[in-house]
């Protein structure tokens, strides 16, 4: 088992750093380009949520914890922002609280689709944690059978 932790300010220029750092950590699992792209996209979605929704008009810390265990990459992304009042509603495709801002409302749907497992824990006023994991090499194994 291998672990890493990243902590950075909720500034949008850190998005590219965050997704590439997680992707680099995942390299030990020998992922395909497609798997790596899925991981980067899911991380980018979660970090965008922390910046745009969690902290909205202020700056705060975002923490990413990653674990590699067997063929699985676990990623936990947390903020101490304002939290989500209704998680079920927030995870519906095309739902957004920022209608006027060109938001697609697809962030959680993309995380769910691109990762093997996905869950959200949120406490209104205290913050949100997204947990997700992906089996790397699952498709290659299936193809080889």
């Amino acid at each position: 088992m291998n672990k890493m932790q990243l902590k950075f300010l909720s500034r949008s220029e850190n998005e590219i750093f965050a997704r590439n750092a997680v992707a680099a950590f995942a390299l030990s699992l020998n992922p395909t380009l497609s798997e790596l792209s899925d991981v980067k996209t899911a991380v980018s979605e979660a970090v965008t949520n922390c910046i745009v929704h969690g902290y909205a008009d202020r700056e705060g810390w975002i923490t990413i914890d990653c674990t590699v265990k067997g063929d699985c990459l676990h990623i936990q992304i947390s903020d101490n922002g304002r939290g989500i009042a209704d998680v079920e509603q927030a995870t519906q495709p095309f739902f957004t609280t920022l209608e006027g801002e060109e938001r697609s409302g697809m962030g959680f749907t993309i995380m769910q689709t691109f990762m093997t497992e996905f869950s959200v824990q949120s406490v209104a006023g205290a913050g949100t944690t997204v947990s997700m994991s992906k089996h790397i090499g699952a498709k290659a194994e299936a193809d080889a059978r």
Binding site: E15, I16, R19, S37, T41, V52, E101, I110
Partner: protein
């Protein structure tokens, strides 16, 4: 992120280059709208994504925003050359029903 354009007859080609996320999209939104305003007489805009190495849902929001603006001018919108990662989220979010993916000339 870089944005460039080229007008060919009735078509306005917009070339995007770089990684499309919350940070980069904010920087090109105004320039994209300026290009559309300047070419409001064209029939369509084709967004060429060949140079887009990464796209998340912020990119989808950006494209839908431009689609709405183009529609107000009566202009159609098309996408071409997305990489595999961009293609996957464009397909997933149903964007191609608004702005079809094309290959070559239309």
């Amino acid at each position: 992120m870089k944005i460039q354009s080229c007008r060919q007859g009735e078509s306005l080609y917009i070339y995007l280059d770089g990684e499309m996320d919350e940070h980069s999209v904010a920087a090109i939104r105004r320039e994209a709208d300026r290009l559309i305003d300047e070419n409001a007489g064209a029939s369509r805009a084709v967004f060429d994504l060949a140079g887009v190495r990464f796209m998340d849902s912020t990119g989808i929001g950006f494209l839908i925003g431009r689609y709405k603006k183009l529609r107000r001018y009566g202009m159609g919108m098309y996408l071409e050359n997305p990489n595999a990662g961009a293609d996957k989220i464009l397909e997933l979010s149903g964007v191609y029903s608004l702005m079809p993916k094309i290959q070559g000339d239309i």
